[in-house]
Point group: C2
Chain length 264, copies 2
């Protein structure tokens, strides 16, 4: 690794990592040291949203690890939605404020690997989305609810399964965002995105798609109306019915969860 | 990059990546290509739990990317709990069957970065843990419930906050595992682990720790008993009360969520 003036930090530099030698003596790899270091800075509150990370070269020298190890650690944090890297000069790696779809990507792989199932995800979606809808109904009208209203209007006009499915996902996410609970929003959005592909495939197989579609639009309208008039109980009941009904219609081949109870 | 016989794959080898040239032409980096390739193989069902990945060198050649790019992609999948890498000869990287604490690590960083809050996590924990407890109460007695019983016995004898907190976390995870819903289990475990540090810090500050501890043991016993006699409603009610009560006692400085409603 070529050493430059920037990279040649000494013990007099306060940023030098004091635990790194101990970590390496314990057999931790350069990657482990780099990841541990950045995570520690975040957990200690030294790195906050918007903080710019030192350049790879400088961080590598500071931690006495290779640049490849620093890059691997940054890739991991990128995939977790914890940092974001720009391209071009002056656009380094920053701590980011929004985690994006990191959880959704993980869930899609877990679904493919049978670590989780459509049934487990659906039951989890029901409890999480019901709670978020109750919270949304307790709030006053807000931008997210207005967006949900516009989305349901657009669903009436879109007839092809692909566009409809996209609007459907966005509608649910908008209602959930109105809850103001970011953890519930992130989770419901990730689950809804993960289930989006199996739902779309099922919709494409339906003979009576137009009829099903009208029913789905009506169900979305009713949920939104209950949230708007702050009827939390009705909204919660309609959301559960809607999700169970969708899965019955869309996944009639045994993948649909049971009518009642938390497991099928 | 040195080319070996293994790495020198040609077009006659069926494993060669056909999309890679297109992806690179579109400006995707070697890392993007490598991650996309492995993810696609998982989503297509070609890689299942236990599948051994080709050696880094071979994969790099097959995808026409650098070895560093392949290593970065594997690190990302490791951190997501999707692959596991052994050390030593013959211990390559395998697709894994259990995701471990990948979600928990992500949530801890998000909590530190204020992407989520103790309050949002607690409200999410309540809805998820209630649903898992209801499902556990519907099941017959199983190994996870027996483990929960042993853990509550041990909680009675452990007085220091650290050991108590560890047993407390394990108790909740055991009850949730009895639900049989892997998604709910994974999620509750991740949230409980994420909140474990703030809970432990609060416990260490308490003057009346012994009294609080006795109350907590009694609450755990009551939840377990309700699950054992299949009283799903009582179990669900006790879980919500227990979690809200813990936060009132442990986090009286305003971090505790409201007594009712899904948001504070």
């Amino acid at each position: 690794m070529p050493r430059t003036r920037d990279a040649g930090v000494g013990l007099d530099r306060p940023e030098r990592c004091h635990d790194c030698a101990i970590m390496q003596a314990k057999g931790m790899s350069g990657f482990d040291v780099a990841l541990h270091h950045i995570e520690s800075e975040i957990l200690a509150g030294n790195y906050v949203a918007g903080t710019q990370l030192p350049p790879e070269r400088e961080l590598a020298a500071r931690l006495s690890v290779g640049r490849g190890a620093v890059r691997e650690a940054i890739r991991v944090l990128q995939a977790q939605g914890i940092v974001v890297s720009g391209t071009g000069p002056g656009n380094g790696t920053r701590i980011r404020a929004t985690p994006g779809d990191a959880l959704g990507r993980m869930l899609r792989l877990q679904l493919a690997l049978d670590i989780t199932s459509v049934e487990d995800l659906t039951e989890t979606r029901i409890v999480v989305e019901k709670a978020a809808t109750v919270a949304a109904a307790h709030h006053g009208p807000n931008a997210a609810l207005r967006r949900a209203g516009l989305l349901v209007e657009r669903m009436e006009r879109r007839t092809d399964p692909d566009s409809f499915n996209e609007l459907d996902t966005s509608f649910h996410i908008a209602v959930i965002e109105a809850s103001g609970n970011h953890m519930l929003s992130m989770l419901s959005a990730a689950i809804r995105h993960t289930l989006s592909a199996p739902i779309r495939r099922a919709e494409e197989r339906l003979d009576d798609w137009d009829e099903v579609r009208s029913g789905l639009v009506a169900e979305h309208r009713a949920i939104l109306e209950a949230v708007r008039v702050h009827d939390a109980n009705l909204a919660s009941e309609l959301v559960e019915k809607h999700i169970r009904h969708s899965y019955e219609v869309l996944l009639p081949d045994g993948a649909a969860p049971a009518e009642s109870g938390t497991h099928g």
